[in-house]
């Protein structure tokens, strides 16, 4: 009962290859079906995100060639040349496959260290495969373990708790002033890609009203529609700056758009209610002197990038703790797996010894002529009893002693020691 993993991610494959090998939910289902019907895998699960495509599986015990089977299946399924694939694919067995998955769900293998989405993606992939009936006892246990690891890493460490993008850092800063942003209003100046990212973050944080202002009204309307916001005419500062608590600027202009004078007038009109300004423009959109105004908080791209940099270091500092959690759960999973395998091993051993006993009696006792049939029968029974005693006792102990199961992790070695190839199946 081994676990195999074949896949590629952002480290091993460029985006051109990754997009060819990625699976939609439907494709994942179809691939899982085919892998099982062709007998390449017994249990299977496809995990596909924008940064990785991985197939986890348990091959039939008789299969010796599962890896090449999987690789050629992938190249056939996605019609990608095998030579392109083989250079990008990685594969792991057992312990390493388990560790790989647990690190993935912890966010340790992500492009953005500690990102949160991956845990949801693992959960979704597992749900799909489970509903489809593609998983079995091994993968069920494995993925439940992976979800547990992901949850524990996020609650017990700070790997995922700090903002890693300029937009998220800015929004988090605004929360230092206003608390939760739910019910607060925001103005977005400029309607480019950066603005869109910030708007998404603001919406996620529960900002109630969004105002968009842009030189080209058309683009402003487009952005506002996507997020259910309102458009404000360009340069109508009195209307624009009265209500919002958070202002995000990302306009490409040579001169600052928001001068100290404009903001001073706005603050008077607002009754000095605190105003948080995120200046993502380069060159800056807000006059530097505006930061001196009472109850005005201005952060530019450099300030926010410094926070992101700080957070990256802090996250990296959390990696050893996250890795320790991963190792802990890898150990737990392997000891569970070993206990299941040990029970199987004891059964196989018993069958093997029974067969051995029969042939032994047959060949050796044939030459002993003075035994009556009754004596022969008696000897067979005695031998049976001894074998049972030798095997039943360890089997019983295995069932009862968790510590013993933990120690015996390499069941394969035991199998190799006692059983010849012929008996393994």
């Amino acid at each position: 009962m081994e676990i195999v993993l074949v896949g590629l991610n952002h480290r091993t494959a460029p985006v051109e290859v990754r997009e060819k090998v990625s699976f939609t939910a439907d494709q994942a289902r179809r691939a899982a079906d085919e892998l099982r019907s062709r007998g390449i895998l017994e249990e299977t699960l496809v995990l596909s995100t924008c940064n990785r495509s991985e197939v986890y599986g348990v091959p039939p015990e008789t299969s010796h060639n599962c890896l090449s089977g999987l690789a050629s299946f992938l190249s056939e399924f996605h019609s990608v040349g095998p030579d392109i694939l083989t250079s990008s694919l990685y594969h792991h067995y057992d312990r390493h496959a388990v560790r790989h998955l647990f690190r993935v769900s912890a966010g340790l293998d992500s492009m953005l260290l500690g990102e949160a989405e991956i845990l949801g993606q693992v959960r979704e992939a597992y749900r799909l495969a489970h509903e489809q009936g593609a998983t079995g006892p091994v993968l069920n246990r494995l993925f439940q373990g992976a979800l547990e690891v992901g949850k524990r890493v996020r609650t017990d460490t700070e790997l995922g708790s700090r903002p890693m993008s300029v937009a998220a850092a800015g929004v988090k800063l605004a929360e230092r002033i206003f608390g939760k942003l739910a019910g607060h209003k925001a103005l977005v100046l400029g309607a480019g890609a950066v603005s869109e990212q910030v708007v998404t973050t603001l919406r996620d944080r529960g900002v109630s009203d969004l105002f968009v202002m842009n030189r080209s009204r058309e683009r402003a309307v487009e952005l506002a529609q996507g997020f259910n916001g309102k458009v404000i005419e360009w340069a109508d500062w009195d209307a624009a700056l009265l209500k919002p608590d958070v202002v995000v600027c990302s306009i490409s202009a040579d001169e600052p758009v928001l001068s100290r004078g404009i903001l001073e007038a706005a603050m008077n009109a607002r009754g000095n209610r605190a105003l948080f300004l995120m200046d993502l423009g380069m060159p800056r959109n807000i006059e530097a002197a505006a930061a001196e105004l009472y109850n005005v908080y201005v952060y530019n791209l450099d300030d926010l990038s410094a926070i992101v940099q700080q957070n990256r270091q802090a996250r990296e500092g959390e990696v050893p703790r996250a890795e320790a959690i991963v190792e802990d759960h890898v150990g737990k999973f392997l000891s569970w797996q070993a206990s299941v395998e040990l029970v199987g091993l004891v059964q196989a051993l018993r069958a093997r010894l029974r067969a051995e006993r029969t042939s032994f009696l047959h060949t050796r006792l044939a030459s002993v002529t003075h035994l009556s049939p009754k004596d022969r029968e008696h000897m067979e029974v005695l031998m049976d009893e001894m074998l049972e005693k030798l095997l039943i006792e360890p089997a019983e102990r295995l069932r009862g002693e968790r510590e013993l199961r933990r120690k015996i992790q390499n069941v394969e070695a035991l199998r190799d020691l006692f059983l010849s190839n012929r008996d393994k199946g």
């Binding site: 700070e158 002033i177 608390g179 009754g271 000095n272 109850n295």
Partner: protein, 270 residues
């Protein structure tokens, strides 16, 4: 075990402080909860320590300076806990607990004088004292909150974004907490003062005689009422209001020290 509750109180408050500091640093919910639980246990132990002390002295706990300091610490803890529940915010605990602990230790480790019982007794008097001390505790709390506000505001405006900034409560919340704390203080000092006049009236038949304490209490009342009003206006909103709140507390401390010790005739320790 004559000092059982004393030790228990110190232990509980210290553990609470440790948990709150841990919460501030790690942001883990469990540490914050532990802080609250230990603070609650500390409050109970502190209560019994106060009882024990007043039994030993055969008088109310606020009859001497140490007693009133201990009661002050206890009421500070009560007010803080109330505020914590009301605003659902634990990151201030680490800043308040040192004060509570300091007042408790200063009060209980000092030698207790054996005093002769005085005329100061009865429920009206007890409420007068307790409410007044509660008011001072609430003002002290708003002082701490305003101080945190000013520090955090300065860090944010100067873009010194150290670890600490991410752990402190949001500025708006600090303002709200400070305001509600001052409101509690204003109500209790108003009621407490009225009770004081009633008590004096019953005792002597005349409710008014000049005491510098009256003047300064009136001043404190006015200043905090002004703070409540101004903290919502254009000019004062934010850091300036917090500055005023800090100034007000300086007056309270003056009232507690200079006026009590040198000027007032009947308000020695509160």
């Amino acid at each position: 075990m004559p000092h059982l509750f004393l030790y228990l109180t110190v232990l509980a408050y210290t553990l609470s402080l440790g948990s709150y500091v841990r919460f501030l640093r790690s942001g883990r919910e469990i540490s914050g909860r532990l802080g609250t639980i230990f603070l609650g246990l500390g409050l109970v132990a502190h209560y019994f320590a106060l009882l024990e002390r007043s039994r030993g002295l055969h008088t109310v706990p606020y009859h001497d300076l140490y007693g009133s300091m201990s009661l002050f610490g206890w009421l500070l803890a009560v007010t803080y806990l109330g505020l914590e529940f009301f605003h659902r915010q634990r990151s201030v605990g680490a800043f308040v607990l040192p004060f509570i602990l300091a007042f408790f230790l200063a009060a209980h480790l000092a030698p207790a004088d054996r005093l002769s019982p005085t005329v100061a007794h009865g429920p009206i008097f007890a409420f007068h004292v307790t409410l007044s001390i509660l008011a001072y505790a609430a003002f002290a709390l708003s002082f701490v909150l305003s101080l945190i506000f000013l520090v955090e505001n300065r860090l944010l405006r100067n873009r010194h974004l150290s670890e600490l900034v991410w752990r402190l409560p949001p500025l708006e919340l600090l303002e709200r907490m400070s305001r509600s704390s001052v409101l509690v203080g204003l109500i209790s000092i108003a009621v407490g003062t009225v009770l004081g006049f009633i008590w004096v009236d019953r005792l002597t038949g005349q409710y008014w005689y000049y005491d510098p304490k009256y003047v300064i209490t009136l001043l404190v009342l006015l200043l905090y009422a002004a703070y409540l009003q101004l903290s919502r206006t254009t000019t004062w909103r934010g850091a300036r209001a917090s500055g005023l709140c800090i100034f007000n507390f300086v007056i309270v401390v003056l009232s507690f020290t200079v006026v009590n010790l040198y000027l007032s005739h009947s308000h020695r320790y509160f």
